[in-house]
Amino acid sequence: MKNLLAGLVSGVAATLLWSAASADELKLAVKTETSGIDPHWQTLIVNIQIDRHFFDHLIEFGDKMELVPGLAASWKALDDKTWEFKLREGVKWQDGSPFTADDVVFTWERIPQVVNAPGPFSQYIRGKKVTKVDDFTVRVSTEAPYPLMETDVAQFAIVSRKNGDGATSADYNSGKATIGTGPFKFVEYVSGDRIVMKANPDYWRGKPKWDRVTIKPIKSGPSRVAALRAGDVDLIDFVPPADINTLKKDSSVSVWQGSSNRPVFLHLDTNRDLSPSMLTNDGKPLWPNPTRDWKVRKAISLAINQEAIVDKVMEGNAILATQLVPPGFFGYNEDLKPGEYDPDRAKKLLAEAGYPDGFRVTLNGTHDRYINDKQIVQTVAQMVSRIGIKVEVRTHPVATYYTTANTGAYSFWLGSHSVSTGEPSAQLNHLIHTTWPGTPYCCTPRGYSNPRVDRIIEKGMVTVDNDEREKLFKQAIGIAVEDIAVIPLHYQLNTWASRPGIEYISRLDEMTLAQNVIKTK
């Protein structure tokens, strides 16, 4: 009992001490921890959001995923195969050495050498040769016309040759090599517990607003909310969906919400004559696969009340989706409308297609990956059952979901693919284009194939002219959505919550950055 009391007393003392800490100290709690400080280790948002504090990229994604000049002051395509980047002059590394074209060349050399990287960045420099023109100019050339130069270059951080030559990933984790041009300097990294950084007063965009920043991973949603309410942290990301509306009403907490780059949709296996879980009403394999018929696909789409899902399942914390990219993104097709809800017409179409009594199908979904994913598939199954198609629901942990989906085991499944480059080429390549193993058109589960759309996508992928390419992508999206290649449901909203006196400028790409936290009091 004695140590219990001692603990209580010391706890009170510690709390008092904590409140006396510097007012310019910011503590952030994030849902997912980075897997390392090496900026070229894993191509996940949770890693990039950490490197953005220490390092800069040549081109950066802004809050709305627009392209913002970073260490490159300007850039242009000299011809279809060559790009020129003018580097920012007068930028200093945090150890005082100047930033030059050598560092860019070094970054290009280093990325493929990061051995055992579980998410290699080499995919972004593959086929691109960099040459130094002078101290502040580099040229990047490709074998074939390559339109995605800007978004590829925006993915990786530039590291310094002086500090990075021969440095291993461990040297970045220990902070020895973590000397960037970014707004914050590395102080400490304790895996599983915290990342601590302090302001870089000489940052080229101006001194950061926070003197010291601590980023803590708190994976459990309720614990993250509790940590905020207890004053342990100032801001949390990924507010659990069940808490959003309660927190919005709570005056001791501010909620910051913004649209995301993440559409959620349903896939149908429309590609094969026989699909594993499409069965006749008495449980025999159903030949031919009914969803090859546009009328059946349209019927399923008409059966789903998108608005009800957004209002009831998502409790208003989502936006109706019309296609594969959210509004405002490059390639967004304004002509597309949210899917109508008309169960009577759906039944009629189903009968016309030759299935007046429906058929059986299994709808698969995750239960730990997207906001309310389990509830979404349950609701969709109910809605589709109403037009006579008997839908069985199966949910899986994400750890096995996509692996199974990749084997072609699903006939009807929930999917999502964030628009991580600010434009739709990845969605088109990975979800709409016919799957071709061993090419960029591979490796993600999809159930659609349409040679006409394939040709438009392929043409877009070699068109460097932005307007021309956007037109092609819009056209491809238009045809695919009208043809019901996927059934768009909604775009998720990103939600942060903070203590009062702090504002978060929401980002489409789900990143939580100290640079975006503003002190209002």
Partner: protein, 325 residues
């Protein structure tokens, strides 16, 4: 005694070997780590590169041989996710879990045993009944709920203690420990109590049951008849006799608390081993899961050995049996 220990060690080698098979192949059938690790834009050649870098292109049995070969050298694989040896990751997190586990076990023992003895001595008193009632609560309330309640009451409503995480650490004998700083203790107290509640209830019930049984034994009556006072009878003669089941259970529970305090560590975001294993399972970081389970096997074997040695100290009959064989 030494024959006994040697025999136990040989049994252990077999157990460890069988466990490598079960653990390794068990983990391999779940999902494909590549699908989790790579970014969604990682296409064909990029995927191929990752599969090779992680050694996943080898057939399963060859992966197992590589694993066994390295394990014999004391290397249990490199984490897919962090790229550092799995064993480093585990040992890095171990002090945090150890101090949590030992604080919880300490509380369970110093509070549980006296309360259990009291409840056994005075089963019909109000205090005795209160203790037993409390132990039922401690048993049956789910620990994640209790943890969240602790946070809501002591961290959010009363604002006495921090809600999550581990406090400041200082190096003690080369280990980073938070037991010796105020901030560290304030972070430790809630998770430790949360973890201790169940064990404490277990100890109370075991001790009470033992007391009830022992108090009617002949040797107790004889001791009283010999003229010994109650204090000496209970604290020396009875206590020694009822500790055997308590030590067995505590030994196993210690192993459990160290290896699988997953729930408490997750709720309080405690950077320990339990959180490491659950995070690793989520991203299918196979080497860490395998290494973790192997270390757990070793730990249980070791704890069981220690428990057996304790038995022989507490109960001469165990010692004598060992000598006869």
């Amino acid at each position: 005694m030494s024959v006994f220990i040697i025999r136990r060690l040989m049994q252990s080698v077999v157990v460890v070997f069988v466990m490598t098979l079960i653990v390794f192949f068990g983990v391999m059938v779940i999902g494909n780590p590549v699908d989790i690790l790579i970014g969604q834009d990682c296409d064909g050649p990029c995927r191929e590169q990752v599969i090779r870098a992680l050694g996943l292109h080898l057939p399963l049995h060859e992966q197992y041989f590589v694993f066994v070969k390295n394990a014999l050298k004391g290397e249990l694989g490199v984490s897919f996710r962090a790229g550092i040896p799995a064993i480093h990751l585990i040992f890095e997190r171990m002090p945090a879990t150890m101090e949590l586990a030992f604080s919880a076990m300490f509380m369970a023992i110093v509070i549980g045993i006296p309360l259990g003895m009291w409840a056994g001595l005075k089963p019909n008193s109000v205090s005795g009944k209160l203790i037993m009632g409390g132990s039922i609560l401690g048993f049956s309330l789910p620990s994640f709920w209790v943890g969240l309640m602790f946070i809501m009451i002591f961290a959010v409503a009363l604002d006495w203690l921090p809600a999550t995480g581990r406090g400041d650490t200082i190096p003690v004998l080369g280990l980073q420990l938070s037991l010796f700083t105020l901030d560290g203790l304030s972070h430790l107290i809630l998770p430790a109590i949360n973890l201790a509640l169940f064990k404490m209830s277990l100890v109370i019930r075991l001790t009470r049951a033992g007391m009830r049984e022992a108090l009617f034994m002949d040797y107790v009556k004889f001791a009283y008849a010999k003229g010994l006072g109650q204090r000496r009878v209970v604290l020396v003669h009875v206590l020694k006799n009822i500790l055997i089941p308590v030590v067995t259970v505590l030994g196993l529970e210690l192993g459990n608390v160290i290896a699988f305090s997953v729930v408490t560590e997750t709720v309080f975001s405690w950077p320990g081993m339990g959180k490491l294993i659950i995070d690793s399972i989520d991203v299918l970081d196979r080497p860490v899961v395998v290494a973790y389970l192997m270390i757990t096997v070793f730990m249980f074997i070791f704890i069981n050995l220690v428990v057996d040695i304790f038995y022989s100290m507490l109960d001469p009959r165990v010692r004598l049996q060992g000598a006869e064989r």
